[in-house]
């Protein structure tokens, strides 16, 4: 798709819903350098969400959508949970099918898009919670990585089943008392970033969403690497403030506290050798582009 295709016939412009007019006039489709700084200044891909006030997941959603390098040709796959409450309000094609099968859906989807559009880049991005990614859907998550499927998997890790009321999940930390973990969780938090690395992911990052610039960088890297090399995985801490007993305003601090070097969400990054080389080339090109733009600006001045 391109922004050209969502133009409204001039005769009908004024009768179109204001939201649609706004989307056409100010969307960030087709804008190569779009990023989190466009949030609030340009039309975003997410409207009023229905998540809880102060939910870090809503921040993560905005940063991710603002960071997609190619939203006009990106399809997202979600799963049952709080993510499925937001997707109906996102202006990117998105699929919700069943709980936990998101990486299987994405496998078929990416392959179909590759068959149908051999000369075009179509990005597929999976976005699901920790229950869908690590518990019920773990076999499909891992097998997609083993098969080297070319899409990005993003896990909103809130360390529990938020949407169904705070039950124990595989990513919950050991000892945490939760519904269905009445004497505290009995085993360690599953080390999915390490498993992802060993399963063939070319680019793996674990972080919080306290810093939008970090989220933007890793999402763009993950999408670019997936497009060229193979599977990538991003695990984002998006605490469910409701279920861990925090107030609406405390989500950001919870993430800052959890990302300290000794804490469980300290920034973690694994990059395969081919991905390192690819990202270095990408950075060099970016540098060249910026230098050229700077030179042009100084000439014009």
């Amino acid at each position: 798709m391109s922004k050209e295709r969502i133009k409204i016939a001039p005769e009908f412009f004024d009768i179109m819903p204001p939201e649609y007019q706004d989307l056409v006039q100010r969307a960030t489709y087709g804008k190569e350098d779009r990023g989190w700084k466009d949030i609030g200044t340009a039309k975003e891909l997410i409207e009023e969400h229905s998540l809880c006030a102060g939910c870090p997941e809503s921040m993560a959603f905005r940063y991710i959508l603002a960071s997609l390098p190619n939203p006009e040709d990106t399809v997202m796959v979600g799963s049952t949970g709080c993510t499925s409450l937001v997707f109906p309000m996102v202006a990117v094609h998105n699929i919700h099918s069943l709980f936990g099968n998101q990486n299987a859906i994405a496998s078929g989807l990416k392959r179909a898009l590759t068959v149908r559009f051999p000369g075009k880049v179509k990005d597929v991005v999976v976005l699901a919670g920790d229950g869908a990614t690590v518990d019920i859907g773990l076999d499909m998550t891992l097998q997609a990585w083993f098969r080297q499927e070319k899409f990005t998997t993003i896990c909103f890790d809130n360390e529990l089943y938020a949407n169904t009321g705070g039950q124990e999940s595989g990513l919950m930390r050991k000892g945490f008392v939760a519904k269905m973990a009445p004497i505290g969780k009995q085993f360690e938090k599953v080390r999915l970033p390490e498993i992802a690395r060993e399963s063939g992911c070319h680019y793996v990052v674990q972080c919080t969403v306290s810093k939008p610039s970090v989220v933007e960088r890793v999402i763009r890297n993950a999408v670019f690497v997936a497009r060229e090399l193979g599977p990538t995985y991003i695990q984002l801490y998006t605490p469910c403030i409701l279920e861990i007993g925090k107030n609406s305003m405390e989500g950001l601090q919870e993430m800052r506290d959890s990302e300290k070097p000794t804490e469980r969400f300290a920034y973690k990054e694994f990059v395969s050798e081919p991905a390192k080389q690819f990202l270095a080339e990408l950075a060099a090109k970016e540098k060249e582009k910026k230098a050229a733009a700077k030179q042009l600006a100084s000439q014009e001045a």
Binding site: M1, R5, I6, E19, Y20, E47, E48, S50, E72, D73, T74, V75, V77, S84, L85, V86, P88, M89, V90, A91, V92, H93, N94, I95, S97, L98, N101, A104, I105, A106, S107, G108, L109, K110, R111, A112, L113, T114, V115, R116, F117, K122, D139, M140, Q143, R147
Partner: protein, 403 residues
């Protein structure tokens, strides 16, 4: 959107000509070939212009899935891979169909059951995936033998469900199935069932269409729901999530959607009648005794009728070709003169007999049986014996035949 242009008369990368399906299936010359059912599935898919096939091994469908892998290696299919389980495979099929591909897969027995959550989702998402179901035993203790119990579970998923009797049915119905299920007013998945081993692993003479003709490709933009490829502008679907508001609108939305799925099943009727020449085949409909069956039980019923004729008993036959849509009116008409309706089945519960009992007036005419299950064959003598016993005629003991 190249797919929207007519490609009929042009060639694909394998040199096959995209052919008007009616010409290909009703007018083109046919060549007799001696093939197993699994090989026939391969030959049908060779001509089906499939974009994606996803495979998983389970007896007795493995051979068909493997043979289609050969087609992929030869370049007849866009993509092919082995999934990790039937649940995953059906999800992968869904993903490919969401992305606008013509999709094919196969399964059997326990695999059908493992994947079951996907099927109402396929129907609800209006994904015209075709799935071959090579029926076998599903319950413990383990069995790999033919048994059609799994069909009863498929019938309420919202999918189209057809039941092939022979390998020839298979060849024709695979191709015709896509034509029906991809109609914009239908756009539903199709479970094309057969009795495992009896059809898949036996050889038969099958009349094949020319291998250099193939179906026109699927056009995903004729779908009644948006294709998930970002070629059409996306819209934010709603301000509130679709399921979490426990209010009347939410309930009504979901209820009306479910009703629409079943309305689409009914709308498939007219297309199916045109392609399959009716939802049933019937013969001797003026007889007092009618055998109504689907799948290979039809063949056994046909032989039983011949044997009964030798003894001066006249019986008729209804071959039920489609279970969804259900040919209720057709069965009522074909059995209106019958005093006795016998329903031989390869399963223990008698799901077909239950459907027929719910369909015809004076349902005490319907004799649910004979049943065989667990993989046992159904000698036509069993059907003859059931009929003669019901009529008060003397029946020869079958034990003496060693059957």
């Amino acid at each position: 959107m190249a797919e929207t242009k007519s490609l009929i008369g042009t060639q694909n990368k394998k040199g096959q000509t995209y052919t008007d399906p009616r010409r290909m299936l009703f007018e083109a010359p046919r060549t007799p070939s001696f093939y197993t059912g699994s090989e026939v599935i391969k030959e049908a898919i060779r001509r089906a212009s499939c974009d994606v096939m996803i495979a998983y091994p389970i007896t007795p469908q493995s051979e068909a899935a493997a043979l289609i892998g050969e087609l992929f290696a030869e370049g007849y299919i866009g993509d092919y891979f082995r999934g990790e389980s039937e649940f995953a495979v059906m999800s992968q099929c869904a993903g490919a169909a969401f992305g606008g591909a013509r999709v094919f897969t196969t399964t059997a027995g326990p695999g059908t059951m493992r994947a079951m959550e996907n099927f109402p989702m396929w129907a609800g998402a209006r994904l015209p995936i075709q799935m071959i179901v090579t029926c076998r035993g599903i319950n413990s203790p383990l069995s790999i033998q033919p048994d059609t119990l799994e069909i009863s579970y498929l019938m309420n998923t919202g999918m189209l469900v057809w039941h092939a009797e022979t390998a020839q049915d298979f060849f024709d119905w695979i191709l015709k199935g896509y034509m029906v299920s991809e109609e914009p007013d239908v756009h539903l998945p199709l479970a094309l069932c057969c009795d495992g081993f009896f059809v898949t692993h036996t050889k038969d003479v099958v009349q094949l269409t020319p291998a250099d003709m193939c179906l026109p490709p699927y056009d995903p933009y004729r779908s009644p729901v948006p294709c998930m490829d970002m070629e059409c502008p996306p819209v934010r679907m709603m301000r509130d999530p679709f399921i979490m508001k426990s209010n009347y609108i939410s309930y009504a939305t979901h209820a009306s959607w479910q009703q629409e799925i079943w309305a689409a099943v009914e709308r498939s009727r007219k297309h199916t009648i045109a392609w399959l020449d009716g939802l049933i085949d019937a013969e001797n409909t003026d007889a007092d005794i009618m055998i109504v069956a689907s799948g290979t039980a039809v063949s056994q019923g046909r032989e039983a009728i011949r044997m009964l004729e030798d003894e001066g008993v006249r019986a008729g036959l209804v071959k039920v070709k489609t279970l969804r849509p259900w040919p209720g009116e057709e069965i009522r008409e074909a059995t209106k003169h019958a005093e006795h309706i016998f329903v031989p089945e390869f399963n223990v519960t008698g799901w077909l007999a239950k459907e027929i009992r719910a369909t015809v007036p004076n349902s005490d005419r319907v004799h649910a049986g004979p049943h065989v299950c667990g993989g046992m064959t159904m000698p036509p003598e069993i059907i003859v014996s059931e009929i003669k016993t019901t009529l008060g005629m003397r029946a020869v003991s079958l034990a003496g035949r060693g059957s």
